[in-house]
C-alpha cells in the first residue's frame, strides 16, 4: 500500500509543481511526477496480480457513512495496471505535444488536471467506501471536464464540455441514489461491511438498474453514450487517450464491483448486459463507419469496445447463472482482458490520431491521405493499433474477443433455452462487430495513410518528434506482446478470475483456467506460425525480385496518363455501400448534386450522420424540459435583491416547517 500511496503523492506533486514552476519546466516536472508515480503504482498492482495478498488501508473519517478505506485486490490491480501503463505514455507524448501545439502557454492547468484525473481514477479503482468512491468519481469527472474544455476558445469544444458535464452528473445522480439505497439496506457504505446478500430481488434489481445507468453513462453504453463522441475529440489527444483508454473503464469497474456486492445475479441481468453490449457494439461501429473526423471515429469505436466488454460480462453472468463455469470464466476473462487491451490499442490510436492532426493540420479523413510515406513510424504504429482493434490475429484484440467467442460457443454447445439464445446472439453479434470494425479501420487507415494526399496540408506533413513516436511504439509493442504471450497474461489473471468465481458462487476455477490457457497456447502457436509464414513470404518475394527492376506508380493510377488525388476513393465514398446497407439505422443525410448527362458538369457529394439517440431522445427531452421551465421565466427578472429574498423565504419556510 505504501507504493500505491507514493504513486498518488508523486502524481499530484508533479501536477501541482507544474502549476507553480516557470514555463520551461512546466511539462518536465509533470511528466516526471506522472512517470515516477505510475512506476510505483504499477509495481503495487503487479505485486497483487502476481499473487501477493490483498493490501488494505482503513482510516476512520468523521463523515456520515464515510471512511478513508483503500484496498488493492486482484480486481483493482487488473484495472490499475492499464492506468499506470497508459498514463506515463500519454504524459511523455503530451509533454511534447502541448509544447508544439501551444508553445508552452497556459499548460500548467492541463497538467494539474491530468494528474488529478489519474489520481481520481486510481482512487476509484481502489476505494472501499461509497463516500470515498463518489468523491474520487467526482474528482475524476470534473478534472476530465477541465481537460475537455482546454481549447475553450472554440465553440464546439465548449458545447462538448457542456454535454459531458451534464451527462456525467446525471450519471452520478443515479450512483448517489444507488449508494444511498445500499447504505440503508446494507447498514454501511464500507464495502467490506455492507450486508446485501439477503436483499430482496426487487431491491437487488433496482440497485442493478441504477448501477447500469450510472456506470453505463461513464462507460459510454448505448443509449447513455451521447457525451462520448463529443467530448473525446474535443480534448487534447493524449487526454483523449487517457479518457478513452482508462476513464470510461471506471464504469465497467464500478459495475463489476457492485455486482460482487449484490446477491447472486438472476438470469435477466446477464441477458440485459448481453443485449446492451450487442446494441453498443453494433451501434458504435456503425456510427464509426459513417464518421469523417478521425477522433470522432475513434470515439465511436470506444462505444463499440465497451459494448464488447459488456457483452463478455453478460456472457459471464449468463454462464454463472446457468451453472456453466467454463462459459462464465471465458466471458469474464475475455471482458477483463479486453479492458486491458482496449486501453493499449485505443490509447495508441488516439496518440496516432493526434500525431496525424498535428502533422497535417486536420482530422478530416477526406482531406488526408498518403501519410504512410511521409510518416512511416506513425503509420506503422497506427496500422498495428488498427489491426488490434479490428480483432485480427496475432494481436491482443483477437485474443480477448476469442475468449468471448469461446464462452459463447461453450454456452451454445452446453446451454439450453434462453442461455442458448443469448450465446448464439452474442457470438453472431460479435462476429458482425468484428467484420464492421475491420471495414471501418480499412477506411480509416486507407484514407489517412495510403493513396495520395488529398490536401496541401497532408502533402506537406512530416514525421512527428521522437517524444511522440516513442509512446506509440511502446504501446504497439505491448499490443503485439499480449497477442503472442496471451497464455502468460491469463496466468496473471488467475487471481481476478478466482475472485469473480467466488463472488458469483462458482467452484474454484483452476480446471477452467487450464482449459482456457491451453486454448490460448494454441492461438499463440498459430499466431507465431502466421508471422513466420508472412516473414517467409517477404523473403521469397525479395528472392524472386532479385536482379529485376521494380517501378513505383501512383496509387489508384489505373493507367491514367495524369492521375490526380481526386480520382481516389474518399473515406465517405469507401464507406458508402456499407452505410447504404444500414441506412434505416444510420439515417445518414446525403447532400450535393450527382453527375448527370453525357457530359456532366461539376458534381459534389457530402454526408452527415448525427447521433440518433441524441437527436431522437435527448434533444426532444431537454427541449421539453427547457420549455417547461421556460414558463417560470417570470421569476427571472434580473434583480439580485429579490433573488436573495427567494433564498431567505425558502429558508424561513423550511425553518417554520421544522419548528412546527
Amino acid at each position: 500500500m505504501g507504493a500505491f500511496l507514493a504513486a498518488l503523492g508523486l502524481v499530484v506533486a508533479g501536477g501541482v509543481a507544474s502549476l507553480l514552476t516557470g514555463r520551461r519546466w512546466r511539462s518536465r516536472v509533470a511528466v516526471a511526477g506522472i512517470a515516477a508515480g505510475s512506476l510505483c503504482g504499477l509495481l503495487a498492482a503487479l505485486r497483487v496480480l502476481a499473487g501477493a495478498a490483498t493490501v488494505a488501508l482503513h482510516v476512520p473519517w468523521r463523515v456520515p457513512y464515510g471512511s478513508f478505506s483503500l484496498a488493492i485486490d486482484p480486481l483493482s490491480a487488473l484495472f490499475l495496471a492499464p492506468l499506470f501503463v497508459l498514463a506515463p505514455a500519454a504524459a511523455v507524448y503530451g509533454g511534447r505535444y502541448l509544447e508544439e501545439e501551444h508553445g508552452g502557454g497556459a499548460i500548467g492547468g492541463v497538467w494539474l488536471f491530468t494528474s488529478l484525473l489519474i489520481v481520481g481514477i486510481a482512487v476509484v479503482f481502489t476505494a472501499r467506501n461509497g463516500v470515498l468512491f463518489l468523491l474520487a468519481w467526482e474528482v475524476m469527472s470534473v478534472a476530465a471536464y477541465f481537460l475537455v474544455t482546454f481549447e475553450h476558445h472554440r465553440d464546439e469544444v465548449r458545447e462538448a464540455g457542456w454535454t459531458y458535464l451534464v451527462a456525467t452528473h446525471l450519471g452520478t445522480a443515479f450512483l448517489i441514489a444507488m449508494f444511498l439505497l445500499m447504505a440503508r439496506a446494507g447498514g454501511s457504505l464500507d464495502f467490506d461491511r455492507m450486508r446485501l446478500g439477503q436483499a430482496s430481488p426487487a431491491l437487488a434489481g433496482l440497485l442493478f438498474g441504477l448501477a447500469v445507468v450510472g456506470f453505463g453513462t461513464k462507460a459510454g453504453l448505448v443509449p447513455f453514450h451521447v457525451w462520448l463522441p463529443e467530448a473525446h475529440p474535443a480534448a487534447p489527444s493524449h487526454v483523449s487517450a487517457l479518457m478513452s483508454g482508462v476513464m470510461i473503464k471506471a464504469g465497467i469497474y464500478g459495475l463489476l464491483r457492485v455486482l460482487l456486492l449484490l446477491p447472486p445475479p438472476p438470469a435477466w441481468w446477464g441477458w440485459l448486459l448481453v443485449a446492451m453490449g450487442l446494441v453498443s457494439g453494433v451501434g458504435g461501429v456503425l456510427y464509426a463507419l459513417a464518421q469523417h473526423d478521425l477522433k470522432r471515429l475513434l470515439a465511436y469505436h470506444s462505444v463499440e469496445n465497451i459494448g464488447i466488454i459488456t457483452l463478455g460480462l453478460g456472457v459471464g453472468l449468463v454462464g454463472a447463472h446457468a451453472g456453466l463455469p467454463l462459459v462464465a470464466l471465458a466471458g469474464f476473462a475475455g471482458a477483463l482482458l479486453h479492458v486491458l487491451n482496449h486501453a493499449l490499442f485505443k490509447g495508441l490510436l488516439f496518440l496516432g490520431a493526434g500525431a496525424v492532426a498535428h502533422a497535417a493540420g486536420t482530422r478530416d479523413l477526406d482531406h488526408l491521405g498518403g501519410l504512410g510515406k511521409r510518416m512511416p513510424w506513425t503509420g506503422a504504429a497506427f496500422l498495428i493499433g488498427s489491426a488490434a482493434i479490428s480483432g485480427l490475429p496475432p494481436l491482443n484484440g483477437f485474443v480477448s474477443e476469442f475468449l468471448i467467442y469461446l464462452g459463447a460457443a461453450a454456452a451454445a454447445l452446453t446451454g439450453r433455452g434462453a442461455t442458448l439464445a443469448a450465446a448464439v446472439a452474442g457470438g453472431a453479434g460479435l462476429a458482425l462487430i468484428g467484420g464492421l470494425a475491420l471495414a471501418c479501420f480499412t477506411k480509416a487507415f486507407g484514407s489517412v495513410f495510403l493513396g495520395d494526399p488529398r490536401s496541401p496540408h497532408a502533402a506537406h506533413a512530416v514525421e512527428v518528434a521522437a517524444a511522440l513516436r516513442l509512446p506509440m511504439a511502446a504501446l504497439a509493442a505491448a499490443c503485439v506482446a499480449i497477442g503472442l504471450g496471451a497464455p502468460l497474461v491469463l496466468t496473471g489473471m488467475t487471481g481476478v478470475l478466482a475472485q469473480l468465481a467466488q463472488g458469483f458462487g462458482l467452484p474454484a476455477p483452476d480446471a477452467q483456467i487450464a482449459t482456457l490457457r491451453s486454448a490460448l497456447a494454441w492461438v499463440a502457436l498459430a499466431s507465431l506460425t502466421l508471422l513466420a509464414a508472412v516473414a517467409l513470404a517477404v523473403l521469397a518475394r525479395r528472392f524472386l525480385l532479385r536482379g529485376r527492376t521494380v517501378t513505383a506508380a501512383p496509387t489508384w493510377g489505373c493507367g491514367y496518363a495524369a492521375p490526380t488525388a481526386r480520382m481516389q476513393y474518399t473515406a465517405s465514398s469507401f464507406a458508402q455501400p456499407l452505410v447504404d446497407l444500414f441506412r434505416p439505422v444510420l439515417r445518414t443525410a446525403a447532400f450535393g448534386t450527382p453527375p448527370s448527362g453525357a457530359f456532366p458538369g461539376p458534381a459534389s457529394f457530402a454526408s452527415a450522420t448525427p447521433d440518433p439517440v441524441d437527436r431522437g431522445l435527448y434533444r426532444p427531452l431537454f427541449a421539453g424540459a427547457a420549455a417547461l421551465f421556460g414558463r417560470l421565466r417570470w421569476v427571472q427578472h434580473g434583480r439580485i435583491q429579490l433573488y436573495l429574498l427567494y433564498l431567505v423565504a425558502t429558508l424561513l419556510i423550511l425553518l417554520l416547517w421544522k419548528v412546527r
Partner: protein, 224 residues
C-alpha cells in the same frame, strides 16, 4: 460543557463590538471603510471563538480556520477588488437617515426578540444559558443586518459585504448551536464561503469591465 470557565465580560464586550461593526459595515458609504469594518468584525469573531474555546478546545481549530478564511483571505479579496475602482458606494435604495433608523430598529428588535425567545431557535439547554444565549442574540442581529444590507443596497460590492455579514452571523451561531461539529464539516463551511466571495468578486469585476459600473440594477441588461 458549562459556562464556568468562560470570561463572560470579555465575551459580552466583544459581542457588542461585533454588532457595532455590522452597523458600520452596512451604513458607511465609502467601500474601503466598509471593508475595514468587515475585517475588524472578522478579527473580533476569531477572538470570540477563541474565548469560547476555553471550555471546548476543538474551537481553537475553528478560530484558526476563521482567522485564515475570514480575517485574511476575504479582506484581501475585498481590498484587492475595491482598490482599483471607485470607492464611493452607488446610492442605495434607502437614504442614509432612514437607513440608520431601520438599522437601529433591526438591531434592538432582533437582539431583544432572540434573547427573549431563545427556545424557538435553539432547543438545547447549552444554547439557552449565559453567554451562549447572548451569542445567539448577537448572531441573529448580525444576520438580520447582513440581510438588510443585501436587500437594500444597489452596489454589488456592498451586496458581497452583506453576504459576508450574513455568513458571519451563521458561523458564529454554530458556537452555541453545534459546538460538536466535525472538523471536516467546519472546514467545508469555511472554505465554501471564501470560494463564494472570490467567485462573486470575479463575476462583479467582469460586470464592472463590461458595464463600467457595479450597480446591480445594470445586471438586468443581461436578460434577453
Amino acid at each position: 460543557m458549562s459556562t464556568a470557565g468562560l470570561n463572560g465580560e470579555l465575551i459580552q464586550t466583544l459581542s457588542m463590538v461585533v454588532v457595532i461593526t455590522s452597523v458600520v459595515a452596512v451604513e458607511v458609504r465609502r467601500l474601503r471603510f466598509a471593508a475595514m469594518a468587515y475585517s475588524a468584525q472578522a478579527l473580533l469573531i476569531v477572538g470570540l471563538v477563541a474565548s469560547f474555546a476555553a471550555v471546548n478546545p476543538s474551537l481553537y481549530w475553528w478560530a484558526a480556520v476563521a482567522l485564515i478564511t475570514k480575517a485574511v483571505l476575504t479582506p484581501w479579496f475585498l481590498f484587492r477588488f475595491i482598490g482599483h475602482g471607485e470607492d464611493r458606494e452607488i446610492k442605495p435604495l434607502i437614504g442614509f437617515g432612514p437607513s440608520v433608523v431601520v438599522a437601529a430598529l433591526l438591531m434592538t428588535g432582533f437582539y431583544r426578540f432572540t434573547h427573549g425567545h431563545v427556545a424557538l431557535f435553539a432547543p438545547t439547554t447549552l444554547a439557552q444559558g449565559g453567554v451562549f444565549r447572548t451569542n445567539l442574540a448577537v448572531t441573529s442581529t448580525v444576520f438580520a443586518l447582513g440581510l438588510y444590507c443585501v436587500l437594500t443596497r444597489r452596489d454589488a460590492t456592498k451586496t458581497v459585504i452583506g453576504l459576508c455579514l450574513l455568513e458571519n452571523g451563521v458561523h458564529l451561531s454554530l458556537v452555541s448551536l453545534a459546538p460538536e461539529l466535525p472538523e471536516t464539516t467546519l472546514f467545508g463551511v469555511a472554505t465554501e464561503v471564501v470560494v463564494t466571495v472570490f467567485l462573486l468578486l470575479y463575476v462583479i469585476a467582469g460586470v464592472r469591465k463590461e458595464f463600467g459600473t457595479t450597480d446591480t440594477f445594470a445586471l438586468r441588461e443581461l436578460q434577453r
